[in-house]
Subunit: 185 residues, 2 copies
Amino acid sequence: MKKDVLEIRLSGTGGQGMILAGIILGEAAAIYDDLHALQSQSYGPEARGGASKSEVIISHEDIQYPRVTRPNLLLALSQRACDAYHSDLLEDSFLLVDSIRVKKLPKGAKYKIYKIPFCKIAKEITGREITTNIIALGAVNQVLEAVTFESLEKALLKRVPKGTEEMNLKSLYAGADAIKNYKDK
Amino acid sequence: MKKDVLEIRLSGTGGQGMILAGIILGEAAAIYDDLHALQSQSYGPEARGGASKSEVIISHEDIQYPRVTRPNLLLALSQRACDAYHSDLLEDSFLLVDSIRVKKLPKGAKYKIYKIPFCKIAKEITGREITTNIIALGAVNQVLEAVTFESLEKALLKRVPKGTEEMNLKSLYAGADAIKNYKDK
């Protein structure tokens, strides 16, 4: 990881697997990449409204303030999540949205926006949307270079159900490829 | 919940499901009991050493300081976890240990200790230790009265795999019963 600290916010609707994606990223960083990590979910009124977020802080040092305040990256898989959480993004940060689910983007944004059809890619790979979170995780890590993909693979394989390993690995790298091949339209 | 704020630390070895137990408790509080909750895992060197912890803060108000510093309760399912995390416990707090896995208890403790064979109860109920975390969760909630059992049931059923609902509900209430019927030896 090049930066000293990375603050990452993964958001969507409940049931889109944002917590699992955050746990895998945190474990990749701390257990396999020898970094410090803190992964958290705070639930307030917006959780009852259907928006869901999961946060990961990754650092070379012990993490003193455990709350994400200036995210380097926001992933938003739903319009409601994008609306609720984009306002903290700074100039040199990144917004990754599901291009099919998030049609209304923040106006006048000075950060880089990636519009990627995560849920469509998931359907192409698995026939269902279930691995959307893992595709998004691959994209997030390709943008930030937060952890090595070797560590991310290990953490992923420890957390996904038996029999789904290959599907999840394909999803992870499909997400990374979506960033590598990204052309802004 | 009677207290204004509860700080709860669930610890064991990696793979004992402490994160899932924390998530279920946090969701029960925030989504079904109309409280605020924050659930987190921080990974440092002890994660690589095999101790694993998951923390939950539950509050009637918005949570300002998101780190557990004075836990009202520590659950320790392994000796290593008990050794690593018991020192923050205050006088009026609770320590719940797996009585088979944790043989060496903190000396001179002024808090209440419950010694319960969580993993043995799990084997009796399911033949395997897989639901030890849910049994412990039932016990934790029985001690603290953190959330209603109605909400805890709902949150549990949303998170466990299909087909395991009954086994998990039985485990939850077996944990609660272990506290209700507890006799200190």
